[in-house]
């Protein structure tokens, strides 16, 4: 199977052209040589005929000198040499001629030469045998025969010339035909070469044009065009396939890139949704906690009871009820908005008043407040849960009661809040859980607001968008202290307010 490569095509064309021209040239050369050879052969033939005629004439002369010449021996020797030459020349006479007449005459020539040899031989023998009469007779015959030979030779030459005159137009026609044939070969090969060159050029140029167009399209960004179809030589087909593969892989790479971007965007959206869900969960949790107190009903009832107590003259009861009412109003009203530390402390004071009134003499509350720190904004209900814990779990379980100390101090960039009791304390294993933070809220969820330590911790964290230090220290039987370090520069608090809204 011949491979359809550009190289093979070019080689085939080249071979065809060169071979054709070579063969045509070779043939022309062969013809020229054959013609020259023929002419030369014919000329040689005629030269042989002339040589034979001359040799016979010479021999006849020598034979005549035999009787009259000075040295018979030398003459005889000379005669023998010429006779030998005649023998040789007769062998070399042409075997074919141009016309039947010439053939006949040539045979005659040979026969006459033979007759001459016979006669001259007979004359020489007669001379040697001193039979002069016979010698003269044969000499005369030989001389006549030599004359006949010349006659035959003349007629032969004339006949040959005549034959060539008849043949010459044929030879010329043959030459003419040959020239035309060679010219035809030359013309055809040239035309063929031109056509094939044009064809090849087209076969190469067309695919290249297609490739260039496709390359232009791709460089313009259109990767989705159809693959180029190249029907040409193998080299160009390989080029086309490579081009198509390139386009294909480019397209695949771009598709992968797009998919990645899409995936990342989806992941981002998922993350945001997750965050939003978390926040919603928190809010829900908060709402649930808030709803544990049946706020408006209690609040209104308390207000009404306080009014009645005042009308009935029970001033102390009225005051207490008003405190409770304030306590509740605070819890209900500002729960979703940041409050100042002063308001928180005031709330804790109300709580302390109520608890003091409830457990008269048993519980004591001490406040050591640095007033410069009270302007700090904190989440609502930060302080009260800590105090509640101290009352319920610390001193509430002791028969003789106890004291809860609330300290607020400014430490420069933080505000330290301490809630300390001299209650029963917390066992070390529970303490570890509390300090670890997670999972403790359920255990410590207690009465009143019910907001556990963990809740406070998380809300603070959300408020400042970073962990806030809440450390519980305790010794069993000696008391517990909760220390809260709040950042003085309040930043990142607003999102929580927004979330609450």
């Amino acid at each position: 199977m011949v491979r359809n490569t550009l190289q093979a095509r070019l080689m085939a064309t080249f071979l065809l052209v060169v071979t054709s021209l070579f063969v045509a040239g070779l043939l022309a050369l062969a013809h020229a040589r054959a013609t020259a050879r023929t002419y030369q052969d014919r000329l040689t033939d005629l030269v042989k005929v002339t040589e034979l005629t001359q040799a016979v004439s010479e021999a006849a002369d020598v034979l005549g000198r035999l009787a009259t010449g000075p040295s018979p021996d030398r003459t005889l020797n000379e005669l023998n040499q010429i006779r030998d030459r005649i023998y040789r020349l007769r062998q070399e006479l042409p075997t074919a001629t141009a016309s039947p007449a010439s053939a006949r005459l040539l045979a005659d020539l040979d026969a006459v030469a033979d007759s001459f040899l016979i006669e001259s031989g007979a004359a020489a023998y007669a001379f040697l045998g001193n039979d002069l009469e016979r010698y003269f007779q044969h000499d005369r015959e030989a001389s006549l025969t030599a004359g006949y030979l010349r006659d035959v030779a003349d007629r032969l030459l004339a006949s040959e010339v005549e034959a060539y005159r008849e043949v010459y137009p044929q030879v010329m026609r043959r030459e003419w035909t040959l020239q035309n044939l060679n010219f035809l070969v030359l013309l055809s090969v040239t035309a063929l070469a031109l056509i094939l060159s044009w064809w090849f050029a087209r076969d190469v140029a067309e695919p290249l044009r297609v490739l260039a167009a496709a390359a232009g399209r791709i460089s313009a960004g259109d990767l989705d065009g159809p693959p180029v179809q190249i029907q040409s030589t193998e080299e160009l087909q390989v080029l086309g396939q490579a081009f198509n593969q390139m386009q294909d892989s480019l397209r695949r790479r771009m598709a992968e890139l797009n998919e990645k971007v899409l995936l990342e965007r989806r992941l981002q959206v998922q993350e945001m949704e997750r965050l939003r869900m978390e926040t919603l969960l928190r809010e829900a949790e908060l709402r649930a906690l808030q709803s544990q107190v049946n706020p408006h009903f209690l609040f209104n009832t308390l207000n009404m009871v306080a009014k009645m107590a005042m009308l009935e003259g029970a001033d102390r009861t009225c005051s207490l009820l008003e405190t409770v009412s304030d306590l509740m109003r605070y819890s209900l009203g500002k729960l979703d908005q940041p409050v100042t530390l002063a308001e928180e402390v005031e709330q804790v004071r109300r709580y302390a008043t109520i608890q003091s009134e409830r457990f008269r003499g048993r519980f004591a509350f001490r406040f050591e407040v640095d007033h410069s720190a009270l302007g700090l904004h904190v989440p609502c209900m930060t302080l009260q849960p800590l105090v509640e814990n101290a009352v319920i779990h610390g001193i509430g379980n002791r028969e003789e009661g106890g004291t809860v100390t609330i300290r607020v101090r400014s430490l420069g960039d933080t505000v330290r809040v301490e809630v300390e009791d001299d209650g029963v304390g917390i066992p070390p294993d529970k303490l570890a859980v509390l300090n670890a933070g997670a999972g403790a809220s359920g255990v410590i969820r207690g009465h009143t607001t019910g907001l556990g330590l963990q809740n406070v911790r998380e809300r603070l964290q959300m408020f400042w968008s970073r962990p806030v230090s809440l450390v519980v220290e305790s010794q069993v039987g000696r008391g517990t202290r909760v220390t809260l370090d709040l950042p003085a520069n309040r930043e990142g608090g607003e999102p929580v307010a927004d979330l609450g809204g």
Partner: protein, 331 residues
């Protein structure tokens, strides 16, 4: 449907390729042909037998008939025959041709026997070289100092022919005739025989006699002149007997011009040109026709049999003659 350009290109390419192949093929075929038409091989010894007819005159009508008969026989027997002869009647040239034929070592020579020493010597030389010679139409004269060297003679028996023609004439003229004879001198023996036999028959007839005998050169005009002169000198002549073809031609012309008191009866030999026409017109009344083509045929056959099969022919081979007469009798 229009063919695509690619298809056209392909077709043209194939055509061109075929053209190239064809041209090269033609070139090659031409190269295989010899430049000159088939060269003719030179005949050599051992080839077909080669005979030569040496006529006394190249344009001689009788001899051309001889050659035709010889060629016909030659082609049947597979031998070759060449015809040659002097362009003008010349014994020297005849001798040269005979010698050349002998020198060319032909296988056989067919020629006319003549009463000439040089011709006889030439025949002897050829025979000496081993070339058989057959004389045709006229035989070599026999003499003591020059024996006949020819292999055989093929021709008419002139005596018989002379007698036949005389008998035919006398039958037509009822034995009455005054005859003038015109003969030529080329082959005396042949003429002698023709005249002699004729004379014998005429002289034995009471009412017939021979008034005159003239001899002319082998020339039509001369023969005619001689005949005219004889008729003037002998107005009583009623019959002119011409003993050769040439003489007959001359006699016919001269007789037509003579205005005598009686018609002249012409007896001719070998009136070759259009014998029937002449006979019908009454210019010739009795005529001896020889068979020259048969002479040629018999000569070739005799030579072929002698050379190939060693059959020596009879010394004299006769060919048939035809005596024809026609036209109105003059009286």
């Amino acid at each position: 449907m229009r063919p695509s350009p690619q298809r056209i290109v392909r077709v043209i390419s194939v055509l061109l390729l075929l053209l190239v192949v064809g041209a090269v093929g033609g070139n090659l075929a031409l190269l295989r042909q010899p430049i000159l038409a088939t060269p003719y091989p030179v005949a050599r010894e051992g080839d077909t037998l080669r005979f030569v007819i040496v006529a006394p005159l190249y344009d001689h009508p009788v001899w051309q008939r001889v050659a035709a008969g010889a060629r016909e026989a030659a082609s049947e027997l597979g031998v070759s025959v060449e015809y040659m002869g002097p362009r003008r009647a010349s014994l020297e040239e005849l001798v040269t041709l005979l010698d050349m034929a002998a020198a060319s070592q032909v296988d056989g020579i067919i020629t006319q026997g003549l009463a000439d020493t040089r011709v006889n010597q030439a025949i002897a030389r050829a025979t000496d070289r081993g070339i058989p010679v057959i004389t045709v139409d006229t035989d070599q004269p026999e003499s003591a100092e020059q024996p006949r060297r020819r292999l055989a003679f093929v021709g008419t028996d002139n005596r018989t022919a002379g007698r036949f023609v005389a008998e035919d004439l006398l039958m037509r003229t009822r034995g009455q005739a005054v005859v003038g004879i015109v003969r030529d001198n080329l082959v005396p023996l042949e003429q002698d025989q023709r005249v002699q036999a004729f004379r014998e028959v005429v002289e034995s007839t009471p009412g017939a006699r021979i008034a005159a005998v003239v001899t002319t050169e082998l020339n039509r005009t001369l023969a005619g002149t001689s005949a005219l002169q004889m008729l003037r000198e002998h107005p009583e002549i009623t019959v002119v007997y011409a003993t050769s073809a040439v003489a007959t031609l001359g006699v016919v012309q001269s007789v037509a011009r003579v205005e005598g008191d009686h018609p002249v009866f012409v007896v001719g030999w070998d009136y070759l040109v259009e014998p029937d026409d002449y006979l019908a017109r009454g210019t010739v009344h009795v005529m001896v026709q020889q068979a020259p083509d048969l002479m040629g045929r018999y000569a070739v056959e005799a030579l072929e049999a002698y050379l190939r099969r060693d059959i020596r022919p009879a010394s004299v081979i006769e060919t048939p003659i035809t005596v024809r007469s026609g036209g109105d009798l003059p009286w």
